[in-house]
């Protein structure tokens, strides 16, 4: 009797669970489902600087200029024509497309551009630096916008592709607490509204924004371009192991965070877009004698450069990763081919170490122990470097720490040697001039202004050169000089994998917004 009762209740419980699960609602056919592990804080373009925000904001907001597909070296018009650039590369004149309109049907105006870009500058959020030294004004003709840089800045139009510099409907934004003047840093309140509605001109509009679970978009019926292919797009926050199951079961159509080994096991029903990511992992030496008497030694640096088994590091990183010859990632103008990077030469490394005169060389190697970039654990990379350096007689003490405390030491320039990474702020090689002497990242390595005048000069020339070919040559020369003298050794670019079900037309990987969801459409039958 008792046994029967307990058995009945347990059976009923299991049966109820199974029945309930089986009664699930299926995804609607006109909905595109995208799975990604969220890195997301806000739906306000002026305050966002996270990868997931770029994914969906590119579908709801538009910029003055943009890129087509995955090519980050060539700008194409968006809300405006390609700019007319002054000879000194300080003035950029854009002409707005008169057909451009926001989702409420109102036209995109010069005032909207001025307000949106000034708001980014004054709200003092993470992307505000993109507007440093730039003033925005109306041009002499209707529909003309002029951006003026304080110093020559040929890379400025490329900065304008960043989703943070999207153009918003200024009237609506002002009505919901948006400000673009100096008080914006404390008084702007529009971010709360922008989490409930979008004020853009893109093919989709924001339906739901939840930083923990999902972001929903729906088709913008007033879009001024070709209509969006899907009624709605649901971008879900999903762990990467569940992403694989979801895309294989067909409950999602795009997975953005699968490792190359996961993607390769999916079979022929998927398009796998595999490309080197835009992050660069590098080894940092501290050139500040107050921090280390070892890493400041030129021969020691040479010994470490020759000792690293770069191919072995790539093997750890996995398929699809690649070596960059310099600090600028392969998809940007001025990038060096991987063959220009250092190569392992153990004999030369030992000779350089002997020349250094350092007795019993020992260093501390810091890294973020809880950081994984595109499936790559920095703990594994640090362990590999330790092994390589110990093979030539350098004692390496690993110093793991959580990313937040690791960044404190890195940004304060207190680390003797460290494995670091850099993701591009905008798709232009000028972003990497920060690695020069006396610049933001250079100072983190104790590389002070005046430490390498030849490199500083090369960087200054590259920064103002407007001829694309000459510009690329100057950036290449600058990187080679940094490779030879600087406190950084580029290690690798991790692979980025985008998996799309074959029910979709293929979408290329784009280092700025991962995939262009606005361009997604079902595959032709």
């Amino acid at each position: 009797m008792k046994r029967r009762q307990v058995g009945r209740s347990s059976t009923a419980l299991v049966a109820a669970a199974v029945a309930i699960m089986a009664a699930s609602g299926a995804a609607q056919a006109e909905t595109l489902v995208v799975d990604t592990a969220f890195q997301l804080k806000t739906a306000d373009p002026a305050r966002e600087f996270e990868p997931t925000a770029n994914v969906f904001m590119h579908a709801i907001y538009q910029n003055l200029v943009t890129f087509s597909g995955g090519d980050l070296t060539k700008l194409v018009p968006s809300l405006a024509s390609l700019p007319q650039v002054s000879a000194d590369s300080e003035t950029f004149t854009f002409e707005l497309d008169p057909a451009a309109k926001f989702s409420d049907g109102s036209p995109v105006t010069v005032d909207d551009v001025i307000f949106s870009l000034n708001r980014v500058a004054n709200v003092k959020g993470s992307p505000s630096f993109l507007m440093d030294g730039i003033t925005v004004s109306a041009g002499s003709k209707p529909g003309e916008v002029v951006l003026t840089a304080a110093t020559p800045d040929p890379g400025l139009p490329f900065k304008l592709t960043n989703p943070a510099l999207a153009i918003l409907n200024s009237k609506a934004l002002k009505a919901h607490g948006g400000l673009d003047d100096a008080t914006a840093s404390t008084a702007d309140k529009a971010d709360a509204y922008l989490a409930t509605a979008s004020l853009g001109s893109g093919p989709y509009i924001l339906e739901k924004f939840d930083i923990a679970s999902e972001v929903d978009l729906k088709r913008n019926p007033a879009y001024w371009g070709p209509p969006a292919a899907y009624d709605s797009i649901v971008i879900r926050n999903v762990d990467n192991s569940a992403q694989q199951m979801n895309v294989m079961r067909g409950t999602s159509q795009i997975a953005l965070d699968l490792r190359p080994d996961q993607a390769s096991s999916l079979g022929k029903d998927f398009n796998v877009e595999e490309a080197a990511g835009s992050d660069i992992a590098f080894l940092l030496f501290n050139f500040d004698p107050a921090i280390s008497s070892v890493t400041t030694n030129k021969d020691f640096r040479e010994a470490v450069t020759d000792a690293i088994d770069y191919e072995g590091v790539l093997n750890i990183v996995g398929d699809g990763a690649q070596r960059s010859g310099g600090l600028v990632p392969s998809m940007f103008g001025g990038a060096l081919p991987g063959s220009d990077g250092a190569k392992q030469d153990v004999a030369a490394a030992k000779a350089a170490l002997a020349r250094s005169g350092i007795k019993d060389p020992a260093v501390n190697l810091a890294y973020a122990s809880d950081l994984t970039k595109d499936g790559v654990s920095f703990s594994d990379i640090a362990a590999k470097l330790q092994e390589d350096l110990q093979a030539i007689g350098i004692k390496v003490t690993l110093q793991p720490s959580p990313v937040s405390s690791h960044l404190d030491g890195y940004r304060a320039g207190k680390l003797e040697m460290a494995v670091e990474w850099w993701g591009p702020d905008f798709p232009d090689p000028s972003d990497y001039l920060l690695f020069g002497p006396g610049q933001l990242v250079g100072l983190r390595a104790g590389w002070k202004a005046g430490a390498a005048p030849d490199i500083t000069d090369l960087g200054a020339k590259a920064a103002v050169e407007s001829d694309p070919a000459k510009r690329n040559d100057l950036y290449a020369a600058w990187q080679k000089a940094v490779n030879a003298e600087g406190p950084f050794i580029p290690l690798f670019q991790p692979a980025t994998t985008v998996v799309l079900a074959k029910t979709l037309e293929p979408l290329p990987f784009n280092a700025m917004w991962t995939v262009d969801l606005g361009a997604a459409k079902p595959a032709a039958k």
């Binding site: 669970a17 995804a27 600087f49 940004r411």
Partner: protein, 348 residues
């Protein structure tokens, strides 16, 4: 005067009032400890909240510190926080830029919905198995239940979640997978924040089924650990109860075995069972992070984890405070239930 009225109040009311007052003091203590802990952990919120370039810009850093009150001395920060808490304001989250109360209302309701279903399942299965194990002490059903309960508390929740997802969603296709609702299914108008209840209130039966189907698997995984501990406690309490003279007397009177078991043996054992259930409920609310992570469940565990990673001080303190309040309330309810279950217990 006050003492005279106080002593005229029923003992249950006095007991509850005393415990609530103690609870308030405990909450203040929790805020102080969590505030101190968030200050001593290495790492600067600026580093976690701002990008590389922004963190190097003094104007942006100053604006951030000023916005979140981080430019004030620590004691002043704490006093301001406490004053705001008294008015129901837990500050603004640095990760979501929303009021922490808004975040908590959203994420806590998701976890409560998950925890309630898991708790009911754990209670039903755990108590049943515990009774079976006690009745068939040292016989094969007891051995089987022992293995089940041991497995329940030993299997890592994260691993179990992935395996269940693999079997029930990926292989068998009887679970809809991750999240609270299927993509494209609109959330019902929020009244309680519990989608199942809100769906019932708004009469959206399709949404209710969809929500229940999403709830079943994570709740089952979350329940399994608790089933193990509830089973073991129930067995021990029932064994103790079954060996008492009043149970022998009931049997000697010729009462039905079912009556003896459920009325005479189970009722005294309930106090111990309720204790473990209460603690388990609190643990579920605070420790569901792994299940929430596997099933992309937007609950308080995920929120706490993200707050800790991004050194979101208002978020961390808000979660600590809410979990403390829940523990205190659950304990209070348990103590009151003791008296209801067993009239010999005095709420002195």
């Amino acid at each position: 005067m006050f003492a005279r009225y106080w002593h005229k109040l029923p003992s249950l009311v006095r007991f509850t009032a005393r415990r609530l007052l103690a609870g308030v003091l405990l909450c203040v203590g929790v805020t102080l400890i969590s505030f101190i802990l968030t200050q001593v952990v290495p790492g600067d919120p600026i580093t976690a909240a701002l990008g590389d370039r922004a963190a190097g810009d003094p104007a942006i850093v100053a604006a951030f510190r000023s916005h979140y009150g981080l430019d004030k001395p620590l004691p002043e920060q704490y006093v301001i926080y406490l004053a705001h808490v008294m008015q129901g304001d837990l500050g603004q989250s640095q990760q979501s830029r929303r009021p922490v109360t808004t975040d908590l209302a959203q994420y806590l309701s998701a976890t409560i919905e998950l925890a309630i279903v898991a708790m009911l399942a754990a209670m039903l299965v755990g108590v049943s198995l515990g009774i079976v194990a006690a009745v068939y002490r040292e016989k094969w059903p007891d051995q089987v239940v022992r293995v089940i309960s041991l497995a329940g508390v030993s299997v890592p929740t994260f691993w179990l979640g992935l395996i269940c997802l693999y079997i029930f969603f990926f292989k068998l296709g009887i679970s809809p997978g991750v999240g609270r609702l299927s993509p494209g299914v609109a959330t019902p108008p929020s009244v309680t924040g519990l989608i199942t209840i809100d769906a019932v209130l708004s009469g959206q039966w399709t949404v209710l089924w969809d929500a229940l189907s999403h709830l079943a698997l994570p709740a089952m995984v979350l329940a399994i650990y608790t089933v193990g501990s509830v089973t073991r406690f129930t067995r021990a309490a029932m064994l103790d109860s079954l060996s008492q003279d009043y149970v022998r007397a009931a049997r000697a009177k010729g009462l039905l075995p079912r009556t003896v078991l459920l009325r005479h043996a189970l009722r005294p054992a309930l106090a111990a069972i309720i204790t473990v259930l209460g603690m388990a409920f609190g643990r579920m609310l605070g420790g569901a992070v792994l299940v929430e992570s596997v099933f992309s469940w937007p609950g308080i565990g995920e929120y706490a984890y993200r707050s800790a990673l991004s050194l979101d001080l208002p978020g961390i303190m808000g979660v600590s405070l809410v979990i403390a309040v829940i523990y205190i309330l659950v304990n209070l309810v348990i103590d009151i239930l003791y008296a209801v279950i067993d009239p010999r217990v005095r709420l002195a």
